[in-house]
Symmetry: C2
Subunit: 362 residues, 2 copies
């Protein structure tokens, strides 16, 4: 077994090693049945117990009230939710509003516009999405306001939910779920793809307010209906069992680390460590994100030249630190700091950043 890598990949990303080890140890011969977990019917208590525990843990660890919200586990990843949310909720004659904060919000807006009336009411496009728009007015008739709580490519994040009156917020939390406490009374729907703070790729967790579920459409294909998945407790079809079993372990780990309070504190600690170097060498490590909107999980920065950006990621890799290049379509540099990232790994990055400035003057 190699030493564990220092892994800043943006997702798939660092997962707690003990979860992976435990999953493998437990599932190869599940409960001494002579079968791996992947060979056992999902309609047996063997799997149902894991499935139900994963849902219960989402409620417990993320403090999602059971009386108002339901947790669904669906295949297709976060991307499918760009389609399912508007398909289920925007009926003919209705509309939803969107805040445009970059790449992922644009995908969500495009999909919603293919399905219904999707209105962008605030955007930071003029600023290349380097801040989170604020102070906009939400139409009280909107079915929901869509936000992307963390924007992985530009490195911005909502640190408070926007004011929306009675309009429920639909929140794409794919890259910062479980990093802070959420006021669920404001949330109509929230979701996240697996790969950051929940486990391996291949599923999305979707949290929906019960009244929105009740009113959701039943005239669309079965797999796309929230209501069908809810009525079957996310067992309408054979579910992504590996993702569910891993998520259970990751949520137990999250709880055992101290839950949301610990995740929140660690997110602060890690991000502050990197931003401190950035601010120390502000002309060298340029961070275009507005200071008050800086992301805690996606620290995006650029060096004085594109060549130095490339050298930074390459030298870091040579020093054992993976994944510091920016998004494959946009370049620059990025340190992704999700819940599974140990603080001591961030300390290595900080040392490297100090060193790199000295060795590579602009």
């Amino acid at each position: 077994m190699s030493e564990r890598a220092i892994n800043f990949f943006p997702g798939p990303c660092t997962l707690p090693f003990e979860c992976t080890e435990k999953l493998y140890a437990e599932t190869l011969d599940y409960q001494n049945t002579g079968m791996s977990l992947w060979e056992i019917s999902h309609r047996t208590p063997y799997f149902e117990d894991i499935h139900n525990a994963a849902i219960d843990l989402m409620h417990e660890v993320f403090e999602i009230p059971k009386d108002t919200h339901r947790v669904l586990m669906l295949g297709g990843g976060g991307t499918l939710q760009f389609a399912m949310a508007p398909m289920n909720v925007i009926k003919p004659g209705q509309f939803a509003e969107f805040v445009e904060t970059g790449f992922w919000s644009i995908k969500a807006i495009e999909d919603a516009a293919r399905v219904g009336d999707a209105r962008v009411i605030a955007s930071s496009k003029d600023d290349q999405y380097h801040h989170i728009p604020k102070g906009f007015a939400v139409n009280p008739d909107a079915r929901y306001l869509w936000i992307t709580t963390n924007n992985t490519i530009v490195g911005t994040e909502y640190h408070a939910l926007p004011e929306t009156g009675d309009v429920p917020i639909f929140a794409d939390m794919s890259s910062d779920i479980l990093t802070r406490r959420v006021d669920w009374s404001r949330i109509g729907m929230a979701f996240a793809g697996m790969t950051k703070n929940l486990g391996p790729a291949g599923m999305a967790v979707v949290i929906v307010r019960k009244d929105i579920l009740e009113a959701s459409r039943t005239d669309i294909p079965a797999y796309l209906q929230y209501k069908i998945h809810d009525e079957h407790n996310s067992l309408y079809n054979t579910p992504p069992m590996f993702c569910i079993a891993y998520m259970k372990l990751f949520l137990e780990w999250t709880r055992d680390q101290g839950g949301l309070d610990a995740m929140d504190k660690n997110a602060d600690t890690r991000a502050n460590m990197v931003y401190e170097v950035i601010d120390t060498y502000a002309d060298y490590y340029q961070c275009p994100a507005a200071r008050e909107d800086r992301s805690r999980t996606s620290v995006c920065f650029q060096l004085p030249t594109a060549e130095l950006d490339k050298k930074f990621a390459a030298d870091a890799k040579a020093a054992g630190m993976w994944g510091l290049a920016g998004h494959f379509m946009f370049g620059k540099c990025r340190a992704s700091l999700y819940n599974g990232m140990p603080v001591e790994n961030v300390a290595c990055l900080v040392d490297f950043m100090h060193d790199f400035v000295k060795k590579n003057p602009a």
Copy 2:
């Protein structure tokens, strides 16, 4: 490690143990990177090589011509394909035709009808779906004819593709994919959920003819477009990596066992062994499926009383044979015999069936 179970579950089902062992051994510390495969970006050669190998192996092992058909790997399972196929292919003013052969075909028909003009042109409903309809005429203007090649609940299977002229066949092969050679010139689209002959749950493999892909809709949400997945080689979003990595190993295993010829022969051997007992005690093990349409992968039968059905599954379980009860909604008995099922396990079932008749006279 326990002895390997004798596992007749209908899916999730028996998988080759060596594939699971190999996957675990290879992926915990992938290529000595200090990362599990689930922590490595899907946009690196580490994962891309596996991804591309899985697609190439589908072409190779299932003998799918690369010049006419494309292989996609999509989240959401087979069930999502009930929606995606009609959404992509039936445009306004167009229609598709369907053969109704039971539970899974009904789900496909219901979803297609929510999306477009779906016409049932043949059904065995009057016969409780105990045979495969034949001799029907396909409208040459139909976009496709939909069939469910194997019907897991009633135990029927197409042993030849129906005559359709120039109309392409869309085939749900979820429960008999890779059990026989297919004439790809007849197939417009074929798909299967993972859990029978491909690997663990959480994905579907979709095979689409290129001209149908080219003509598919681009005004539906992104994740639902075949074309977007194809243009991104099934890497539009973070894919279900575990399923893909497992499928690669399962296809290598399939190839190394002798490929389609061996799978076809083994399917015959296994099914014949069980049907022989059934026919020997035809008044006891009643098999309502028409003889010429008997499924090779889903051998469905019922005993003289519902009590004996239950006792059969329970006594088999006590004798170490899992999963012989029928579908959780329909009952009776069923032996699921997929590619991963060793012939010697079927021999145990055959012995048990002989013995059960003697011990439990009607």
